[in-house]
């Protein structure tokens, strides 16, 4: 009995110390090659000095869930602790032959395709674990892609807040307005993860969303 009281006492003290410093699970979702890892890397690099994963021009570079825990973000005097979860790109088809044009052997391409399909399954499984999701889209691509709509639909159904990031605004073909028009009910922030462009607005939005959680 005395042990139980003591245990509860310490548990309460512990909880009070860390109250308000809860780690928010922030997931990066989207189709392949839109810059999810580049954005996660940029945030990690800015606040921890380390990167979360490798980036590449070849689609499906991220084939496993990658995460970085206890990333403390401070912006304009505000602070929060995040667990950044970078997910493999979600797609409805994977053809190993698509990788052959990147000078890969047939064996390597088949292996990559197999890992990519498993990565998609993993990404879907992790949807339930998120507190907040950043859906990363390529601002140069047509946003009316069913994968984007399906991801956002699932997050809404699970009542997980969604922030849409239109990445690659450094490219000429980028059109953030087209993404805003496709998803009028959501907040869209245009950024360039590669060059760190407009990340202030991104952090501002993240803090705003975290307040609502």
């Amino acid at each position: 009995m005395a042990m139980k009281i003591l245990r509860n006492f310490f548990k309460r003290i512990f909880l009070n110390i860390f109250k308000g410093r809860k780690e928010i699970k922030l997931g990066f979702y989207g189709p392949p090659n839109v810059g999810k890892t580049s954005l996660a890397n940029k945030i990690c690099k800015d606040f921890t000095g380390e990167e979360i994963g490798k980036v590449s021009k070849i689609p499906h570079e991220t084939r496993n869930i990658q995460f970085k825990e206890k990333v403390e973000i401070s912006y304009k005097g505000k602070k929060m602790v995040l667990k950044l979860i970078d997910t493999p790109g979600i797609t409805t088809k994977v053809d190993y032959e698509d990788f052959l044009k990147y000078k890969m052997s047939k064996k390597e391409a088949k292996k990559r395709a197999k890992e990519a399909t498993q990565g998609v399954i993993e990404s879907i499984k992790w949807l339930d674990d998120m507190d907040l999701v950043v859906v990363v889209l390529d601002a140069t691509e047509n946003p009316y892609n069913q994968v984007n709509i399906t991801i956002i639909g699932n997050l809404v159904a699970r009542k997980i807040p969604v922030l849409i990031v239109a990445n690659k605004i450094d490219l000429k073909k980028a059109d953030v307005k087209r993404i805003e028009a496709a998803f009028p009910e959501y907040e869209v922030v245009g950024i360039s993860a590669k060059y760190g462009k407009n990340l202030e607005e991104f952090y501002e939005s993240i803090f705003k969303f975290v307040k609502k959680i």
């Binding site: 197999k114 998609v120 949807l127 009316y144 399906t150």
Partner: protein
Amino acid sequence: MKKRGKFGKIKGFVIQFIPYSEIKDLDSNKRIRKILDIVLKNNIIILQGRLRPEEETRLIGDTMAMIGHVKNFKGIELAVISNNKELNIFSKLRKKIANFFSGGDLGAITIIGPATIVKEIKRNPKKIELMLNR
């Protein structure tokens, strides 16, 4: 059934229409199985209505699990066309009531095809284009 000519070119394919009443009373497992059975026969499905969001991801997940295990299967192309216009509160309520009584969003159309036949489904708010593989 899709037929290929002497030089591998597609000579024809089947588009199968599924009214919502055919899947309305099925649970998620049976709905997905029914769709995948048709897609694996290399047919294109035009489904009245749409799947639930969790069924759409389940379909994607099951499709991924089949790639590499089913010969020549490379996945699917999927598109849902529905009225995405911003609705006012009364229209939203009316739509919800209508969906409740009909058991789903019957104003939507879902197109699903095997990636070996359907190369891409291009869509924008005004039109939808089905690009086929040669």
